[in-house]
Symmetry: C2
Subunit: 216 residues, 2 copies
DNA sequence: GCCCTTAAACTAGCGGTGTAAGTTTTCCGG
DNA sequence: CCGGAAAACTTACACCGCTAGTTTAAGGGC
């Protein structure tokens, strides 16, 4: 087939199909030939629209990041905004868990990831956090959210009871897989609340007085 | 070459060589042929000792997990033990960052990972945490540690200043890569302290009174 | 209205991957 | 002492990401 009258592919269609394959069958299921077949086309044709497979994955990752809501940094105080963002961030990743290992390598050159980093960092700076501290907080929250979305804690445990006979405290571990959602979400909420509680204490200890002094 | 007088391979030698390749050149550099070459042998010979490449990676992952120190759960109170364990855990992962994406899929059937989970969970149970809460705490800490070791936050940002011209708060982001260690460790310590601070507050609110009532 | 560049599909093929199958020889237990 | 398991080998398959070169169509400049 030579050049068609109407293009068969465009970046949007390729990214959507790639995300669908990844969601349905995992990162390793996405090969260029497989993706092309999904689009009714031969493998190398994709290279008319993306230079490498990595660029396709970048685009998929950014399409997920783009659904994260950072608007709270413009309307709420910093702890509430962090909470709102963290929940939205986790929801976005949990909706596409298979891309997370790729996504968490960092923002790189992905526009939506950079925009998100900018919004979070800017929100913390406006709240009075010193720049180094704001960086640390953004990183710590990203650590926690990424870790929580990376792989289900509960699903990491086999449902085979025999595995746990040698471990006195893990007798019930085979039941974790069955309660995946409640375990993972419970752990996330507990950890997020604890983190924010601790950060609020740190704020009161270090930033609050400085602000009062500056304003008074 | 037929069967040699003395075996050329054993699981230990294979795992050590695999870990060395991964540490030096990353997960993707580890192919069966490459690993075999490192051991002076042909690719398929590895399958006399491991059923699949995944089993080799499991063994590498577990050899890393085995270096994590959980002894503090036998000697210190629960917050100090969690802190000690989290630092040891992070050190172990940071020493072999390339295997982390594989490792964080969960303990699966890896003995050292199961032993670690058992020690942490048991320590929290002995401290009086309700079982569901102990599970959540272990998961939350694992989320945070895994996220912090998975990929450097700082290295996730390009050192190309032009990338950040459209993002008003990220003007200094190109300098993150140069301060990788201090940024990543600062974020880890801040987050861990905040997490433990929040958990201690939760303990005082829910477990402490119950214990007093039971003991009084 | 032609012409030239660019675009977008194709086919063929390279070097690499994990691993299955079958061969050869050596070691060890009955 | 001899038969089977063990541990190396070679060969081969289907797949991978990607390059090169081909063909035809689209779109802008004269």
């Amino acid at each position: 087939m030579p050049r068609p009258r109407q293009p068969l592919l465009d970046r949007r269609r390729i990214v959507d199909a790639a995300r669908a394959v990844i969601d349905a069958e995992g990162l390793t299921a996405l090969s260029t030939r497989r993706l092309a077949a999904e689009l009714g086309v031969q493998g190398p044709s994709l290279y008319n629209h993306f230079a490498t497979k990595g660029e396709i994955l970048d685009a998929v990752a950014d399409s997920v990041t783009a659904t994260v809501d950072t608007s709270a940094f413009g309307t709420l105080d910093w702890p509430a905004a962090l909470r709102h963002w963290a929940h939205s961030y986790r929801r976005a990743l949990a909706a596409h868990p298979h891309i997370v290992p790729y996504l968490v390598q960092g923002p790189g050159r992905r526009p939506a990831a950079l925009a998100m980093a900018d919004a979070v960092y800017g929100g913390l700076i406006r709240a009075g956090w010193p720049p180094a501290r704001a960086t640390h907080i953004g990183a710590a929250l990203r650590y926690f959210v990424a870790g929580s979305a990376l792989g289900s804690f509960a699903r990491g445990f086999s449902d085979d009871p025999d595995l746990y006979v040698d471990h006195p405290h893990l007798h019930q571990a085979h039941r974790l897989a069955g309660h995946q959602r409640s375990v993972d979400e419970g752990a996330f909420v507990l950890g997020l609340d604890a983190l924010l509680h601790g950060l609020a204490a740190e704020y009161d200890r270090t930033v609050g007085p400085a602000r009062q002094a500056a304003e008074g």
